[in-house]
Subunit: 108 residues, 4 copies
């Protein structure tokens, strides 16, 4: 792996974990209806984070473009998650914003 | 692609489409809470169907084992979906059972 | 699924199949060394096509952006594949260019 | 995430990284032909590791079955990688065997 990618891969993997856990826990909340957008974005965000991390791990010629898209989806997911008081949503929002920042730096 | 795989790949791709559409529509239903298990299984099922179809497309030495697992997850997703009257759930159940059958035949 | 997405999803799924088959067959060629870039791009292209098709199937709010990236990767994969005379490479190039065109239209 | 899953998720993510890096480096070796099976299995193994890690992160009801399959694919990939003297292959073999062991324990 390109050494420069290390921190961004780490941020993507942490965001992936946070999004998958938030997805699981949102589905178990009493008010699932309120969490629908969070569930939807958690999934989109997990998928692009997995793709971005792997594209860097295999030195994809498209890593920068993939990370740029990843930053955009992380930002949207973080903005939705931070509206909800559940711990898993707050943790997910934090991981999303960190990952968005790392991806923007990687892509620039 | 191995010609024998053709029908099973097709069944996996149809199940993938049905599961993704059911996931999307379940999240827009009024009673999301009732659909939580359906949403969860739609995602698991979509992911294994995508993996199974691709494993056959690239002649994976593990295609049979992957299809065996796919059949099991499709069966579970179909059983959950068929409990719900929504058109998207009924269509998804049908696609799941067809895919489970195709995967079992492929794996045997 | 959004009806407008139908053709683009189809193009992505055909490109996915072509890329996975080309990947498999390139690895069995006598001169694998010559095919290295093709193998690498087949994988990148398969992954973004699977992601793009699924994002449309579940009405992702990011479908347009994902398709824009998909068009770019398909274009690059098609350009590499068309350099090689193998049938699987030529078929893959054709599927890539069709998919790139469908994705550009979808994203515009 | 279920606390019991922690070590197994970690092993899957390390194996994912090792497989993606080995894939990339194998494609740059002088004797790509010799590495063809390694390249093929690195991809299969990366995909099942990503799937297994995520299935545990979201408490999938199929996590045990997915990990059982993951163990089998990791074992095969490790056996192929360990035949080759390249550092990336040896590191990948080690990560594969560790992940196979963690997945077997998880699934039992």
């Amino acid at each position: 792996m390109n050494h420069n990618f290390h921190d961004c891969i780490q941020a993507c993997l942490e965001c992936l974990a946070a999004c998958n856990e938030c997805f699981d826990k949102c589905l178990s909340e009493d008010h699932v209806k309120m969490m629908a957008e969070c569930i939807r974005l958690d999934r989109e965000c997990a998928e692009i984070c997995a793709f971005a991390a792997q594209s860097m791990q295999r030195n994809s010629p498209f890593a920068a473009q993939i990370c740029r898209l990843c930053a955009e989806i992380c930002e949207a997911c973080g903005n939705e998650c931070k509206k909800h008081d559940h711990d898993h949503c707050q943790r997910c929002a934090e991981a999303c914003f960190k990952c968005a920042e790392a991806c923007r730096q990687m892509a620039s």
